[in-house]
């Protein structure tokens, strides 16, 4: 799928994965080149979040066949933290609460773990605070959120924005955003989209999992894929999303069956 001349960011071939006893991903292929933005759409329960978790290395998701290469490395051989340290970032569909863990402290520890793994100097509290203030403005997040425990008592929309805030600080090479748009009000969606667009670059790729065209109005994807029954059943350009918005998924499945 990736055009010639574009370096490969992520290459998934014939991926099969189980959750518990059940096979959820059933032979999935996906190529993402550097700098590309891919949207993945598909019915509820089709395996989108499963793919995201397999990529991030969550325990309990067993890969039974296929391969995943990330920046030329065998992704499946790496622990979750090593994947993050190599530049993979998952914005969670359901961000997790960490009671008592200060948001700022959490994020600085995360950034410094990644920097340390890369042999870069750690940021002290003061430089980190400066960095954070700068990025906060982009997302118009209230600083009070930074003094609170991670995601505890955050509204649904605040949790999603906090995920994107983390992404802007950690500056990953590949970001997988799992339904970051759901639960956001219209203004917040705009801000989040601006934040994501600001991070687009020739070196950074993104996989946007979404149910709605609206996000794609703001963030124009290079490719749109339909995931159903654990496989990518159709791929196209951004016009595919518009078509899905009008016609739903049934027609593709019908075409495939025919």
């Amino acid at each position: 799928m990736s055009q010639s001349g574009v370096t490969s960011m992520l290459s998934i071939k014939g991926l099969r994965a189980n959750v518990g006893e059940r096979e959820i991903l059933q032979g999935l292929d996906l190529e993402v080149g550097a700098g590309e933005v891919h949207a993945i759409m598909g019915p509820n329960g089709s395996g989108k979040s499963t793919l995201a978790h397999v990529l991030a290395g969550r325990e309990g998701y067993t890969v039974t066949a296929g391969s995943i290469r990330f920046l030329g490395e065998d992704l499946l051989a790496l622990a979750p933290e090593e994947r993050a340290q190599r530049g993979l970032f998952l914005a969670f569909q359901y961000p997790v609460e960490l009671p008592g863990v200060n948001n700022t402290y959490f994020l600085r520890t995360a950034l410094n773990s990644i920097r340390r793994a890369r042999g870069e100097p750690e940021l002290d509290a003061v430089s980190f605070l400066r960095l954070m203030r700068e990025k906060l403005k982009i997302l118009h997040l209230d600083d009070s959120l930074l003094k609170r425990p991670v995601n505890v008592g955050f509204s649904g929309g605040e949790k999603k924005r906090n995920e994107i805030f983390q992404m802007t600080i950690l500056e990953p090479s590949l970001a997988i955003l799992d339904e970051t748009d759901s639960g956001l009000d219209i203004d917040a969606l705009r801000l989040v989209a601006d934040g994501i667009n600001a991070l687009r670059s020739a070196q950074r790729s993104m996989i946007l999992v979404t149910h709605y065209q609206r996000l794609l109005d703001y963030i124009q994807p290079d490719y749109v894929h339909v995931l159903a029954g654990g496989r990518i059943i159709r791929s196209g350009g951004k016009e595919l999303a518009l078509e899905l918005e009008q016609r739903g998924y049934g027609w593709i499945e019908a075409e495939l069956a025919a």
Binding site: R83, E97, G100, V101, T109
Partner: protein, 481 residues
């Protein structure tokens, strides 16, 4: 500094001489009888009333049974095999160099960044009293003396302020209280005495660290802290560095007395040697700690971080006698390896409109066994008493266990007593979330556990809190994976 001019004079002259404790050179042979007790008292040049008090306690102790109700196991203790008086260790046998110390202990010292000389002291190696000459200690004493605060060893207090000691010693924990407290009353070696005069806000955090001889107070330590009307003191006991000791049994008694409008904040970090991986050689820590909010609107709070000892058995308690007095207990207890802890608190509401708060955070890993045992008692006359208890346990791994045993006795219908308890495992979701952000599993656990303990750490003096967090992280190394 207002308050008691009479005391200032005495205190000043006393502090000019510093904290002098004469060094006896001999050790009594093992065994316990009335002659041993008389000898201890004589060696310490104690006033007559003290000798009598010790003897009364001893006679009572003979009639007592060792308690068996705590959820802890240990081989029987032979009380005749213990030597009840020994000279300060730095002149005696004991390890000669760091080569003789458990390497695991040394590794922990290094991780905590403790200087070599201090490591030796902690490990019980003979060194000269290096802290004596440290100027910070001198400044410390001068500042306290100016405020009229008395801070000295209890032996010294018995000689210099016998009336004060006589008035308060045993008034909170009578020798009849329990088996170990009774034994302590009979044979206590030494300990700390603090008196804060009326209206004085103690200008410094008092810490045993600054009491030069405090490290040699031995296994039957006795602490007495009195906060006179309208005064305030914050006292820190212990340190984060693991301390080893040749004495396996530690049975300390701590008594706190707060008069009208006085406040005592007592913080402990307990990190005694827990023994090797099988639990051999660890300390048995059976301590009685009790605070008496004797005056109206007085406050006593206990904050503890317990990570050490093979067996811990302790229930810092508050007697809320004065009207509107306030008691608090904030605790973090960690058991790992083969450690056992049975800990909690008692809040005894006697006065009207008394309030108490209990926050207990238990963390169990490995084969660790932990019990929270808490009593909230509201007497009939304690109109409008309030208690809130929150008791959370966190299990890491599946071989450890946690029990919660709340006892609630309410005799006044206007009282409000709330109890919340949770037991959880470190959630997979939380661990994965942290790792997906680049933290390794160990750092992730430590971060989650520190978060779990946050409410308690917030109660510790700043510097202590930072050390406690570091200590907790070190304690949890290797707890998972």
């Amino acid at each position: 500094m207002s308050g008691s001019p009479a005391f200032e004079g005495i205190v000043k002259s006393d502090y000019e001489h510093g904290f002098v404790t004469e060094i006896e050179s001999d050790t009594l042979p093992p065994g316990l009888n009335e002659e041993v007790i008389r000898t201890i008292s004589r060696r310490k040049a104690e006033p007559e009333f003290m000798t009598e008090y010790r003897l009364k306690a001893y006679r009572h102790w003979l009639s007592m049974q060792e308690p068996r109700w705590a959820f802890v196991d240990h081989p029987p203790i032979d009380f005749q095999a213990i030597s009840y008086y020994s000279a300060p260790k730095h002149l005696k046998e004991g390890p000669k160099s760091l080569d003789e110390i458990d390497p695991a202990l040394l590794e922990t010292y290094n991780k905590l960044g403790i200087p070599l000389e201090e490591q030796k002291v902690l490990a019980g190696i003979a060194v000269d009293a290096v802290f004596d000459s440290v100027s910070v200690a001198t400044t410390f004493r001068e500042t306290l003396a100016q405020a009229g605060v008395i801070f000295c060893s209890i032996s010294e207090a018995l000689r210099t302020y016998p009336d004060l000691v006589r008035q308060y010693l045993g008034s909170v924990v009578p020798y009849t209280d329990n088996f170990y407290a009774c034994l302590n009353a009979a044979v206590f070696s030494d300990g700390t005495f603090v008196y804060i005069p009326k209206g004085v806000r103690c200008p410094l955090e008092l810490s045993t660290y600054f009491r030069i001889n405090a490290r040699n107070t031995g296994q039957f330590e006795r602490t007495l802290i009195i906060a006179d009307v309208g005064s305030y003191v914050s006292y820190l006991e212990g340190c984060t560095a693991p301390q080893s000791d040749e004495n396996q049994l530690h049975a300390a008694v701590v008594e706190l007395i707060a008069l009208d409008d006085a406040e005592i904040k007592y913080s402990t970090v307990q990190n005694w040697y827990p023994g090797d991986a099988e639990g051999r050689g660890g300390i048995y820590n059976f301590v009685t700690k009790r605070g008496d909010c004797r005056g109206a609107r007085s406050k006593i709070s206990w904050t503890q971080v317990e990570t050490g000892s093979a067996i811990t058995w302790k229930y810092p308690s508050c007697i809320l006698r004065g009207e509107g007095s306030v008691g608090a207990f904030y605790s973090v207890a960690v058991t790992k390896g083969r450690q056992q802890a049975d800990t909690g608190t008692k809040m005894i509401h006697l006065g009207r409109h008394t309030r108490s708060t209990i926050v207990s955070k238990g963390i169990s890993t490995g084969w660790g066994r932990q019990t929270y045992r808490g009593l909230v008692r509201v007497a009939q006359r304690a109109q409008g008493a309030r208690n809130h208890t929150q008791c959370d346990s966190l299990l890491i791994g599946d071989r450890c266990s946690a029990n919660t045993v709340p006892y609630i006795e309410v005799k006044n219908p206007t009282a409000r007593v709330e109890h919340e308890a949770t037991t959880s495992k470190i959630s997979e979701d939380q661990l994965f979330y942290c790792r997906a952000r680049g933290l390794n599993a160990e750092d992730a656990v430590s971060m989650i556990v520190n978060g779990f303990c946050k409410e308690v750490f917030n109660e510790l003096p700043m510097e202590f809190a930072v050390e406690a967090q570091k200590l907790l992280s070190i304690s949890l190394e290797g707890a998972i994976g």
